[in-house]
Symmetry: C2
Subunit: 353 residues, 2 copies
Amino acid sequence: MDWRDQVRKVVPYVPGEQPQGTGFIKLNTNENPYPPSPAVEKALAAVDADRFRLYPDPEAGVLIGALSERFGLPKDRFFVGAGSDDVLGMAFLTFFNGSLPVLFPDVTYSFYDVWADLFRIPYEQVPLDEHYEIQAAGYDRPCGGIVIANPNAPTGLAKSLSFIREMVENHPDVVVIVDEAYVDFGGESAVGLIETYDNLLVVQTFSKSRAMAGMRIGYAIGNPELIAAMQAVKYSYNSYTMNLPAQIAGAASLKDEAYFKEQVDRVVATRERAKAALAELGFQVLDSKTNFLFCTHPEVDAETIFAALRTKKIIVRHFSGERVKAFLRISIGTDEQMDTLFAALKEIIGDGR
Amino acid sequence: MDWRDQVRKVVPYVPGEQPQGTGFIKLNTNENPYPPSPAVEKALAAVDADRFRLYPDPEAGVLIGALSERFGLPKDRFFVGAGSDDVLGMAFLTFFNGSLPVLFPDVTYSFYDVWADLFRIPYEQVPLDEHYEIQAAGYDRPCGGIVIANPNAPTGLAKSLSFIREMVENHPDVVVIVDEAYVDFGGESAVGLIETYDNLLVVQTFSKSRAMAGMRIGYAIGNPELIAAMQAVKYSYNSYTMNLPAQIAGAASLKDEAYFKEQVDRVVATRERAKAALAELGFQVLDSKTNFLFCTHPEVDAETIFAALRTKKIIVRHFSGERVKAFLRISIGTDEQMDTLFAALKEIIGDGR
């Protein structure tokens, strides 16, 4: 026997590049181009460094309290973690322990199948239709659970609340996870349904609309029984997943809703402008409700464009999967960054034609 | 079918109380009584808040670089996580996937059996001897892995390096994890052995000796193959476990070794003084190489003392397990805090006798 025989074999998720140098225009990981609320910096500066010697509140009371206030829901509806990846991963581990396959789209956040593989959860990927839309029909069968990113990534397309309601009502016997990482940019949130359906878990993040990817804050909203089940699993893994700065920064962000709305509106306005500009360059652009655009050019290969942009220090995202390899996923930057992108694309497309 | 049938059933670890009010003398979770290095506060204050909008470096390069320098070992020997709980939990998930039981002491860090249960890992607890010492003989059999806390908790007793070498050499076919959460307070570290043995993983933390429990920083040291296996599992769960403040604060702490040594020496001096003071009050105190004392009083019940101290706003730790319920675990505070404790104990013991 060899210790290597016992090692868990996995094929990890590959995160987008995080270049450590400067001078890049970074449109590859759907970060917000604007900084978080000034209230965040202020709250962090006010922390007495002596508090770092103590364990943080395992219940993250300050952060949960601020979420409770923001959503007008009792505290026991919230679970927090180190980014929505931590929250989703823990939800998979908590709720998907049956023998029937968990269902999610074939084109969606590419961490879902990675978590399923990691935790040995059976799953099946339901194909999007030819317009890259999620189809209800494919989910109309017995399963171990359902995971829907809404809006979906990397397509950017959103489903209506009636679709989510249909999923949850048709599958009262399993947990339906709705991953709303991008919802603030134009989707319809299912948070209003959690008091009606005890099998619905909604997951959101501070990484996109709240411009706090560097802080790692995600949360789930659901009925107290779902949340308690996740808490038990969390307390069986790591009592203190949220460090003190994350708890304080997260709470501060939630208390500055005016700033939040303003930044989100700016990103949405730039997105709509970018959609038109890309169309003008000949791109086909899906109708995004997120802070990124998923687009393909009928004449110039996506990988060629990706590489050409990279030499100009503009980083976008390209996925190699069969159904998406013709596309680029472009995060929405500042107006200035997008103008630089359009100029670069004009050159590249012109050369490539 | 009900979604509840699929929920993972667990019995979580119960962390020590983290009172949110003031006025407590908190000697229950082995935190450092002194603040982290001033370099930590300075480094955090220098961070441009605009960086929070970006994902942190998934490789935690700044922190790994500082660890590499501190230990004089190449960077590929290090794995970092959100506290040593995150690191240990991930090590369990990565390395313990066989059918033979993983072995660890019956009295040890009470998270080991929780992780094993969470991940459905078979395990057996090997009894400490009558002096609460770890005995090599109990581990002399085929197994799925070995986990030794050295120094052990909550006993505080340390094993020699030759014992660790024996474990690692007798079990080349499985991974041996040495949990050195408390090693800086007087234990012998096994880090020097990792270049010799490819099945040895050493885990340490910033929560105790570096006074940074609130930041959640732990790390593992091992050969590159072990580290790569853990990285693959980590990247299959959460690409970014360490937020930006944790990476920066951790690196800053590692660069101020003079402060670190000074604070550790102070804690050790107080521990030795406390050991004598407790003995004078009639306690039997195990020979601690940590920042806590494990002690029992022949005349007054531990739970009685625990409760009496709690009414005086002094919080220590009491475990309910059969072999440890006669003991209290008392973290080392400042000299002043300890003097208050001794005075309180004198009253309680006097009353109880």
